[in-house]
């Protein structure tokens, strides 16, 4: 009996990477007058984020404020290249006759994850006028892109969608979840930043005399962390909901306590605890910073761990 029930269907998500790419996968169209493919653009993006990371870290470590503008500008251009890469991949899938939004396997979702991290970071930088956050947020985007480009766990071909994945709810699910995950990633970067600043002699303001002193005041880091987590929390909520609706239209069960669902709920609880702790008991500062980091670990486990660590224990997670 060939069963394509829930477990097998879910395996498909993130695991169908191993399928053979279509035969005409290499038929790519020239873009910008040169022979450019999405994987080339995304490869350039990976190196651009590495360079962005170096710019932000150099700016922070050597306290060269002048570098800030350049770092922001460069990162913004990298984001545009990144967007073009995603757009082109989308276009390529249509050329292959299997057109779908590039959000349907491990590779594509990690690429989107990195894109959202940078987008959210740039908005935060623009809103709060703090450039040092870049040294704590941009590295995550680089690591995500490097993982997507280099890891053996991930196949990078454009694959057609198996029936279960042919759903607009899936697209909504991936977008909402990853906006949430990215916000939590930036919040974890801010959490690290808080703990480092906490070691400084100058906690209440920002100066250029010492390395740690150059970080923004603790109060401000905490405020930005909190706002970023709220933002992520709402999107994660929407992500869990869209996932439930998808599951319900695909196999008639909106919640089945499978490891992926359960871990997303655990993550949701961790941030719910964090928001309550701050609101009602005057928790703040260090504990919230730690919770931001713990929450991030839970996010990574929800996304990566369930597929690759728990997979050995579950029939649905095995490679195939």
């Amino acid at each position: 009996m060939t069963v394509f029930d829930e477990r097998v269907q879910k395996k498909a998500y993130g695991y169908y990477d191993r399928c053979l790419p279509l035969r005409d996968i290499n038929k790519r169209q020239p873009i910008f007058g040169v022979f450019m493919t999405s994987s080339q653009l995304l490869g350039i993006t990976t190196f651009a984020y590495l360079f962005s990371t170096l710019l932000y870290v150099t700016m922070f470590v050597f306290r060269i404020k002048g570098l800030g503008k350049f770092a922001t500008g460069f990162t913004f251009i990298a984001l545009i290249i990144h967007s073009a890469g995603i757009g082109l991949r989308w276009h390529e899938s249509y050329q292959m006759g299997i057109g779908h939004a590039p959000l349907t396997n491990m590779y594509e979702s990690v690429v989107f994850f990195a894109w959202t991290i940078i987008a959210i970071y740039l908005v935060i930088e623009w809103k709060f006028r703090v450039k040092t956050i870049g040294a704590f947020a941009v590295p995550f985007a680089f690591l995500a892109m490097a993982y997507a480009s280099l890891s053996n766990d991930v196949t990078r071909g454009i694959t057609p969608l198996v029936p279960a994945l042919q759903s607009n709810w899936l697209i909504a699910h991936v977008i909402t979840c990853f906006i949430g995950y990215s916000a939590f990633t930036v919040a974890a970067g801010l959490g690290f930043m808080y703990l480092i600043k906490d070691k400084s002699d100058n906690k209440r303001s920002s100066d250029d005399k010492t390395l740690l002193g150059s970080l923004p005041p603790l109060q401000q880091i905490e405020d930005i962390t909190h706002k970023t987590m709220i933002f992520g929390f709402i999107w994660l909520t929407a992500g869990i909901i869209t996932g439930a609706v998808w599951a319900n239209t695909a196999w008639g069960t909106y919640w089945s306590w499978d490891p992926k669902e359960t871990w997303s709920l655990i993550t949701w609880f961790i941030y719910a605890i964090t928001l309550h702790a701050r609101y009602t008991r005057g928790w703040g500062g260090k504990r919230v910073a730690w919770l931001a980091i713990i929450g991030f670990v839970s996010v990574i486990f929800t996304y990566y761990g369930v597929n690759f660590i728990l997979s050995g224990l579950h029939s649905y997670g095995s490679n195939g």
Partner: protein, 447 residues
């Protein structure tokens, strides 16, 4: 809140315990931690599997705490109930206080409290009290701040607020979680989940429950007219499709092609494409081209079948397949006119066979049965309502605020001294900007 009741009162201390945020945090932590166990330990395996994997001692422990079906265990449900009780009691506990804030008469705010507010500004207007009052009222109303005026010892108090109701956002969030849980309970008690497998061309009137294994009568019939798989060029499945017909008392009510992500609902019962089985057997349609008579047979592999009325005998003696998919059939076909015909045909294609003066049209296909997940869940709309409500509640809770402004106008020798104060429960920096802008513009009003 918690502190106002006497500590000696036993019932009120229990109440305070259930209303506390501490309990919420502890419960959420506990549910999270035990849930981890349920994600690491494979759930709902057979009892022997646990014994084999973990040995008798550990598997007895697993059995004792129902760790093999943790999320259905009584103690896990008790934890969820504790969370619900916490949500309900804390809401009842806090609602009156918040409601008071929402509905409070701002004109009754004591001047002492107004003067203690940090966000304030003061100036003297050259107009008389009445004119200053009218001017300010008109200006603020124009900006969307509806004014309520009151008389106080000091003079006239103009009050306005925006978004008072947004203080209720948190109740929407907490309430929506309860709505979702109610939906889950309704689904579990009044609904069912089942599966059914229908052979192509056949119909069923009952399905098997997933929980109990018992048959459930649908009250109508579901017929599978055909099952089809489409593939991509690389061999990956593109579409699973069952053509279903609903019949009541033998009358066809509706047809629908059910695909994954596109189920069929009839009378509150939904059918989801969930599996299929490919058989070695075939469906063979034979048409007598002269008479136009046609009949479809389910033909077991390598078995001879008769079409008695036409005096025909036939069978499938061999096939070719890729994987489980049969691509070609080798047909054995005889009629009284002479020695039997043996020929290969592509599955799904039509072939015309000449026998003496007669012509027969053959259509041969692989036999499938479709596997359907059947669900009735009257609670699902509660769940969806809760989901919409929670998003709405979170938005209100975090992105909207209750903003208030007061203008205290005091007569001062023909002129008017104005004291303006404001407060907000969130987004203080954003409100500062609005507040001082309003203040500046009010100062500059010409008499």
């Amino acid at each position: 809140m918690a502190e106002k009741k006497s500590s000696g009162d036993f019932i009120s201390s229990i109440w305070d315990f259930f209303a506390s945020v501490q309990l919420a945090i502890v419960t959420l932590c506990t549910i999270s931690l035990v849930s981890i166990v349920g994600t690491i330990l494979p759930q709902k395996e057979a009892a022997e599997w646990y014994i084999q994997k973990f040995g008798p001692a550990l598997s007895r422990f697993i059995d004792l705490f129902h760790l093999n079906d943790m999320f259905g265990a009584v103690w896990f449900k008790a934890l969820l109930s504790l969370l619900s009780a916490n949500l309900i009691i804390c809401s009842i506990d806090r609602f009156p206080g918040v409601w008071k804030q929402v509905t409070a008469d701002m004109t009754k705010t004591p001047a002492k409290r107004l003067f203690a507010m940090k966000r304030s500004t003061t100036w003297t207007a050259s107009a008389s009290l009445e004119i200053a009052k009218d001017q300010s009222t008109r200006y603020l109303s124009g900006k969307g701040w509806k004014i309520k005026a009151g008389e106080t010892e000091e003079g006239i108090l103009l009050c306005s607020r925006k978004g008072a109701w947004t203080r209720l956002g948190v109740f929407f969030v907490h309430g929506s979680i309860l709505v979702i849980l109610v939906g889950a309970i309704i689904g579990a008690t009044l609904g069912f989940k089942g599966t059914v497998s229908i052979l192509e061309g056949e119909g069923i009137g009952k399905i098997r429950s997933n929980d109990t294994g018992a048959f459930i009568n649908l009250g109508f019939e579901v017929r599978c007219d055909g099952f089809n798989i489409d593939y991509y060029s690389n061999g990956m499945p593109k579409e699973y499709r069952s053509d279903l017909t609903i019949l009541e008392n033998g009358k066809e009510i509706l047809h629908k092609a059910v695909k994954v992500n596109s189920p069929l609902t009839y009378k509150g019962i939904t059918f989801y494409q969930s599996s299929y089985q490919a058989y070695k057997d075939s469906l063979i349609s034979i048409t007598d081209k002269e008479t136009g008579k046609e009949k479809t047979f389910m033909v077991p592999f390598q078995k001879e079948l008769p079409w008695k009325e036409e005096g025909l005998r036939f069978g499938v003696i061999n096939n070719k397949s890729t994987g489980e998919k049969i691509t070609q059939l080798k047909i054995w076909f005889a009629d009284p006119s002479g020695p039997p015909s043996i020929f290969w045909m592509d599955a799904g294609n039509r072939v015309t066979i000449e026998r003496g003066r007669k012509h027969y049209l053959f259509l041969g296909e692989q036999l499938y049965s479709t596997g359907l997940q059947v669900a009735k869940d009257p609670g699902v709309w509660w769940v969806y309502t809760g989901c919409v409500l929670i998003l709405f509640g979170l938005f209100v809770t975090f992105f909207t605020s209750h903003r208030r402004i007061w203008l205290l106008l005091t007569e001062q020798g023909g002129k008017t001294s104005i004291y303006m104060a404001g407060s907000t429960n969130k987004n203080k920096i954003g409100f500062d900007k609005t507040f001082y802008e309003l203040g500046e513009n009010l100062k500059n009003l010409k008499p």
